[in-house]
Subunit: 298 residues, 2 copies
């Protein structure tokens, strides 16, 4: 199978759609790189891009893309509801096929070094690419946001990993990472009681004593008048989709509430679902190379 890395850069412009097009265009029509999706949110004033490709070609594309983002966005004028520390806010690299996490970490490092030097933007590495434990969590890295970074950057423990050690006023800073693909998976409950979903969410998620790579909360599906446990599975290899699903079923029993369905939001890596089929069908010694479509992509 061909080597493939996914990148989901987030940049701080979600209102001026002409500008968004101009920026996203850098990722169009490139050899070996495919723009899969992008969506702008005007409340957040932010655009999330999904692009995938051959590692070397993707790396080249992202470095060029960063330059266009910095050129077109002025953080001194930015307002929006979503936390952000810079014009090119976050750049996670995700291994998709025939690529190790280490290769993604190396890519995060090379891109960080290049972007830092070429555009004079301070760069922080986070998640799997973090250079210290306190830098793993993006929320902690980004705390204080753009406005706070003029001071934060001076603290020894928040010295940038690459680029200048002083704030770039126009562009802010950029956080780059390597991480496993995220699966957005929601489980619908046969109840109109939001509290049940909230309680289940709290015990299933990591911070509540639940599964290590699950983030969860209860939400109400107003149209259907049912409650839902909405999850982000941040490492489906270590916390499998079926495990989170079965745990929610188990917890729902205590309330006499059935699980009536589930949904996968957006894109999902094939292996996350194939792994569930393997579990429920009790398949022994299965290899992803047995998937016909994977063989075709080789």
């Amino acid at each position: 199978m061909a080597k493939l890395i996914e990148c989901i850069p987030n940049f701080s412009e979600g209102r001026d759609l002409e500008k968004v097009e101009k920026i996203v265009n850098v990722l169009r029509g490139r050899d070996g790189v495919k723009l899969l999706d992008y969506s702008s949110d005007s409340d957040h004033n932010r655009t999330v891009v999904t692009v995938i490709g051959d590692p070397a070609k993707l790396e080249e594309a992202i470095v060029e893309f960063a330059g266009v983002v910095y050129e077109n966005i002025d953080m001194t004028k930015h307002e929006g509801g979503h936390p952000r520390m810079g014009a090119l806010d976050v750049v996670p690299f995700v291994p998709i096929s025939d690529v190790t996490m280490d290769e993604c970490k190396e890519m995060a490092n090379r891109v960080g070094e290049k972007i830092g030097e070429m555009y004079s933007v301070p760069v922080y590495l986070y998640e799997e690419a973090a250079t210290a434990t306190h830098r793993k969590n993006l929320a902690k890295v980004r705390k204080g946001q753009y406005e706070g970074f003029f001071e934060k950057i001076k603290e020894e423990q928040w010295k940038p990993d690459f680029g200048p050690i002083e704030m770039n006023e126009k562009s802010g800073c950029t956080a780059i990472s390597a991480r496993v693909p995220l699966v957005a998976f929601n489980v619908n409950l046969g109840t109109d009681n939001l509290e049940v979903a909230t309680k289940i969410g709290k015990v299933v998620r990591h911070i509540g004593g639940g599964l290590r790579y699950v983030k969860a909360m209860g939400v109400m599906l107003e149209e259907r008048n049912i409650a839902q446990v909405s999850m982000n599975l941040v490492n489906y290899e270590k916390t499998a989709v079926y495990r989170a699903f079965e745990m929610i079923k188990m917890e729902a029993k205590r309330y006499g509430v059935p699980v009536v369905g589930s949904e996968v939001i957006g894109l999902v890596p094939m292996a996350a679902l194939i792994g569930c089929a393997e579990y429920y069908l009790q398949i022994e010694n299965f290899s992803m190379d047995q998937i016909l479509e994977k063989r075709v992509m080789e």
Copy 2:
């Protein structure tokens, strides 16, 4: 996703491996066509090839391939344990992605017509491409085999669909079809009693009153000393893998026998397993376009 058709031609040579290489080589290094697998069996004196590609390019490749098969194999000298009616015995076309069964039927027709005319070989269409009900089942079409076809071909109901209406002595006849991908799926039982597997196989399979697209039999896994229900799922879209699996579990209960595992043999289309994950996780409104890898292949 790119249009993809799979073809699994079987030809009547499995002993002279130099000859096998010469024949298979026609399918190598072609633009838009990929040789996925081939395996020769000397007892059967037969080789099974798996090739996949863009419909037009695959069609061209298979027509050329047929010529090389007919050139290199002499059926008057062929012996082997597997039923066969010709040098190029069967040529099934299977829709893999963004292709309908009708497109595969049309392909079977075009290839049949070309092969029949170009190489003067009688051609029969079977399975989904069959031109009459009695020609659907390959075993019925092939009955009598090469040796019997000198007479069988003269019967009105066995008049070839394409090519000459007389037998080709050197090459025999060729059967061409369109069919859905076959999934070889076996379920392991926690017993050393072969009879249990045999009984379960009999009620699960179509001819025993079971599921429409299941062929099944009991076999013994000598090494592990356990019995297995060995199945061919000949239409996983209509008879899902999980349905066959759950039915075996249900039947095994009657004997107090647990299902201890299962295995997928060879290649399996992604959708056959994703469909099982959808069932067990109760996923609503899932689309195969949400599979990241499919989007990459677009």
